[in-house]
C-alpha cells in the first residue's frame, strides 16, 4: 500500500497555501449555515439522550427491553459497536504512520477525533447498564470499608481498565499530534480570542529542531504502543463474551473476529466522515479521489476478513458438535432473530462487492452509501451476536425474547448526538486535517519532482 508511483496530493499547491487553507477553517469558518443546522440536529439528539438517561436513572433499567435471559442487549451491543468504530481512528493514525503510508496524513486528525468521541459514547453504555450507576466506583480498587476488592480474574473488571486506558492514550496521542497545528493556527490568528485560545492550547510550541526530534520520537513510540493497544482492547471486549460458556460466544475466533469487525465498521465511518467533510469544506485538493480509492480498498479488505469470521463461526459450531452450539447456529440462521443475521450479511457484504471496481471506489456517493450500509450491517451483527445467543438459554424453562423499547432506541439515537456535538465543536475549533503532516508530504513530493 505504501509504494505509490503517483502523487497522493496534487503537487502544484504550495505548503503556504495549504497552511492558510487549513488554519482558515477554524479562524474564518466557511460553512456557518450547514454547521448550525447540523449542530441543532445534534443538540436535539443530545437532549434526547439527557431525557433518556434521566428516565433511566429515575425508573431503572426496567424501562429497557432487557430481561432474564436477555440481560445484555442494546447497552452492550451499542457499546461494542461504538468502540469498534473508534478503533479505525487509531489504526489510521498509528498503524499507517508506522507503515509509512503517507496517504493517512489527510485523514488521521478527524479519524482520531472520531475515535475520542466514539469511545466516550461506548464508555457511558456499561455505566448506564449497571442499574445502579452511582456504584461505578466499586470497579476501582480502593480500600473500601466493606473489605472487598474488585475481582481481577473477571473480564468485566478488565473492561474498565482497557477502555479507560484506550481513552487516555487516544487523548494523549491526539493532543500530541495536534500541538504543532495549534501553534500554526495561533500564528495565523488575528482576533484576541483565537490568539488566547490557540496560544494556550499550543503550549508555547515553536517548532524548534530539538523539540521536533523529541516530539517525533515520543509520537512514533506512542503510535507503536497504540497499535497493540487497539488489538488488545477489542480482544478484551470479545472476552466479555468468549470467556463465558454461552453457546455462540464461547469461541476462540472471537478476539480476531471482533477486532476485524471493529476495523471494518470504523473504516466505514471514517469514509463517511471523509466524504462529508471534503464536500463540506471544499477539501478536494487534500482528500482526493485517490484517498477514497484507498479507503475503499481497506474497507473491502477488512470486510472480507470479517466475512471469514462469519464462515469460521459456522464451522466452529459444526465442528464442536455441541447440541447447544448447533441449536444457537440454527437459531441464528432461521430463528426469531434470523433477520439480524441475514440483515448483517446483506448490509455488510453485498454492497461491499461493488468496491472491486475502481470507478466505484473513486466515486464519493457510492462509497458513502456502501459505508452507511456497512455501519448498519455491523450494528445488526452486534445485535445478532448479543440476542441470538442469549434468548434461548440452556434450559427451555428460561427461554425468552427481546424487543427493544422506546427507551432503548432513544438512548441509542441519543448517543449519536453525544458523538456529533463534540465532533462538530472540534471541527469548528481545531484544524481538522493535520497541517504539518500534509506540508511534510507535499514538500517530499515536490522534492522528488525537482530531482
Amino acid at each position: 500500500m505504501t509504494d505509490r508511483s503517483a502523487d497522493i496530493l496534487p503537487a502544484d499547491q504550495s505548503i503556504g497555501e495549504v497552511s492558510e487553507q487549513l488554519t482558515g477553517i477554524p479562524l474564518h469558518f466557511p460553512a456557518w449555515r450547514r454547521w448550525v443546522a447540523a449542530m441543532i440536529f445534534a443538540c436535539l439528539l443530545l437532549v434526547l439522550l439527557m431525557v433518556s438517561i434521566t428516565a433511566l436513572f429515575t425508573r431503572g433499567v426496567g424501562i429497557w427491553g432487557i430481561n432474564i435471559p436477555v440481560n445484555w442487549a442494546f447497552a452492550i451491543h451499542n457499546y461494542v459497536w461504538w468502540l469498534g468504530i473508534g478503533h479505525a481512528g487509531t489504526l489510521i493514525s498509528a498503524f499507517l504512520l508506522l507503515t509509512g503510508s503517507e496517504w493517512r496524513n489527510s485523514l488521521n486528525r478527524f479519524a482520531e477525533t472520531m475515535t475520542l468521541f466514539a469511545v466516550i459514547c461506548a464508555g457511558i453504555y456499561p455505566v448506564l447498564h449497571l442499574g445502579r450507576p452511582w456504584y461505578l466506583y466499586w470497579m476501582f480498587p480502593y480500600p473500601a470499608t466493606m473489605g472487598v476488592w474488585p475481582q481481577f480474574r473477571s473480564p468485566l473488571e478488565w473492561d474498565i481498565w482497557a477502555v479507560l486506558t484506550y481513552l487516555m492514550v487516544s487523548l494523549a496521542f491526539w493532543y500530541t499530534g495536534l500541538i504543532p497545528d495549534l501553534a500554526a493556527a495561533r500564528d495565523r490568528a488575528k482576533s484576541r480570542g483565537w490568539q488566547l485560545f490557540f496560544g494556550i492550547t499550543a503550549l508555547g510550541w515553536r517548532g524548534s529542531a530539538a523539540h521536533w526530534s523529541r516530539w517525533s520520537q515520543a509520537f512514533r513510540l506512542t503510535a507503536g504502543l497504540a497499535v497493540p493497544l487497539v488489538v488488545s482492547v477489542h480482544s478484551e471486549v470479545s472476552l466479555l463474551f468468549a470467556a463465558g460458556q454461552i453457546p455462540g460466544w464461547h469461541s476462540t475466533i472471537f478476539p480476531p473476529y471482533f477486532v476485524l469487525g471493529a476495523a471494518f465498521s470504523g473504516f466505514a465511518v471514517v469514509s463517511i466522515i471523509a466524504i462529508a467533510l471534503r464536500s463540506w469544506f471544499a477539501l478536494e485538493n487534500l482528500v482526493t479521489d485517490e484517498h477514497l480509492d484507498l479507503l475503499g480498498k481497506v474497507l473491502l479488505a477488512t470486510g472480507l476478513m470479517t466475512a471469514y469470521g462469519y464462515i469460521f463461526e459456522v464451522f466452529d459450531a459444526l465442528y464442536s458438535g455441541g447440541a447447544h452450539e448447533m441449536q444457537t447456529l440454527v437459531d441464528r440462521l432461521a430463528g426469531a432473530y434470523a433477520w439480524t443475521y441475514w440483515g448483517a450479511i446483506v448490509f455488510n457484504f453485498i454492497p461491499l462487492q461493488a468496491l472491486w471496481w475502481q470507478s466505484v471506489r473513486r466515486s464519493g456517493w457510492a462509497l458513502l452509501l456502501i459505508s452507511i450500509s456497512v455501519a448498519v450491517g455491523m450494528w445488526l451483527e452486534r445485535y445478532m451476536i448479543l440476542v441470538t445467543s442469549l434468548y434461548r438459554d440452556f434450559l427451555v424453562s428460561s427461554w425468552g425474547a427481546f424487543t427493544p423499547t422506546f427507551w432503548d432506541w432513544s438512548t441509542y439515537f441519543g448517543t449519536i448526538g453525544l458523538f456529533l456535538v463534540p465532533f462538530l465543536i472540534a471541527i469548528r475549533v481545531i484544524p481538522l486535517i493535520s497541517i504539518f503532516e500534509t506540508e511534510e508530504l507535499l514538500q517530499e513530493e515536490q522534492e522528488e519532482k525537482h530531482g
Partner: protein
C-alpha cells in the same frame, strides 16, 4: 557582549537551503545552533549537533513501572480478599495479563509524552524568538536558523553577514 541577545534568526524558504546553511554554520565553527521549522526536517538535528533524544528510555521505564504496578496490585487484591472460585488459582497470571498489558501501555505512553513536554520546557507562555517580526512564518512555510548569542563565535555583525551570505532571506537580531 554589552546588551543581552538571544541570537540571530535567519529565514530560509526551503528545508534544503536551511540544511545547507546549517552545515555551513557548523563548518564555520558555530556550536549553539537551533532551527525552527513548520514540520520535522529529517537529518536536521544531527547537523545542528543536537543529541539524540532519549524519550524511549523513559517509555521503557514507564512500561516496566506500569506492568509492576498492575501485577502487584492484582496480587495484593487477591491476597487481601481471597475468593475461591471453583478452586481456580488466586494468583492467576493469565487472568492478570490483560490489566498488566493495559497499564504497561498507559504508563509508557503517558510518561513519554510528559517527558517530551518536560524536556522541551513546555508548556511555556513566551519565548524570546516569538518577538521576531517574521517568526510567525515558522509555522507556515519558512525555515529559520538561529545562531544563539551565547555561542563563542557569535559576533552580531559578522554572524549576520555570514547568514546573509549563506542565502538567508532575512536576518533579524532577537533580544532575550
Amino acid at each position: 557582549m554589552a546588551e543581552r541577545v538571544y541570537g540571530l534568526l535567519a529565514e530560509f524558504d526551503s528545508p534544503e537551503t536551511l540544511i545547507t546553511a546549517a552545515r555551513d554554520a557548523r563548518d564555520a565553527g558555530y556550536r549553539r545552533l537551533d532551527a525552527f521549522t513548520p514540520f520535522p526536517v529529517e537529518g536536521l538535528s544531527s547537523i545542528l549537533g543536537i543529541p539524540r533524544p532519549r524519550i524511549s528510555r523513559v517509555g521503557l521505564i514507564g512500561g516496566f513501572g506500569g506492568a509492576a504496578v498492575a501485577l502487584l496490585m492484582q496480587c495484593y487484591v487477591n491476597y487481601d480478599y481471597p475468593l475461591d472460585v471453583g478452586g481456580r488459582p488466586l494468583y492467576a497470571i493469565s487472568a492478570f495479563a490483560v490489566v498488566m498489558f493495559e497499564l504497561t501501555i498507559l504508563f509508557s505512553a503517558l510518561s513519554m509524552i510528559v517527558a517530551m513536554l518536560w524536556q522541551n520546557g513546555l508548556p511555556r507562555l513566551n519565548y524570546p524568538v516569538f518577538a521576531a517580526r517574521r517568526f510567525s512564518l515558522a509555522s507556515k512555510d519558512r525555515f529559520f536558523l538561529c545562531v544563539k548569542g551565547d555561542d563563542e563565535a557569535f559576533e552580531p555583525g559578522k554572524t549576520a553577514a555570514f547568514l546573509t551570505k549563506a542565502g538567508a532571506l532575512s536576518v533579524e537580531l532577537v533580544p532575550s
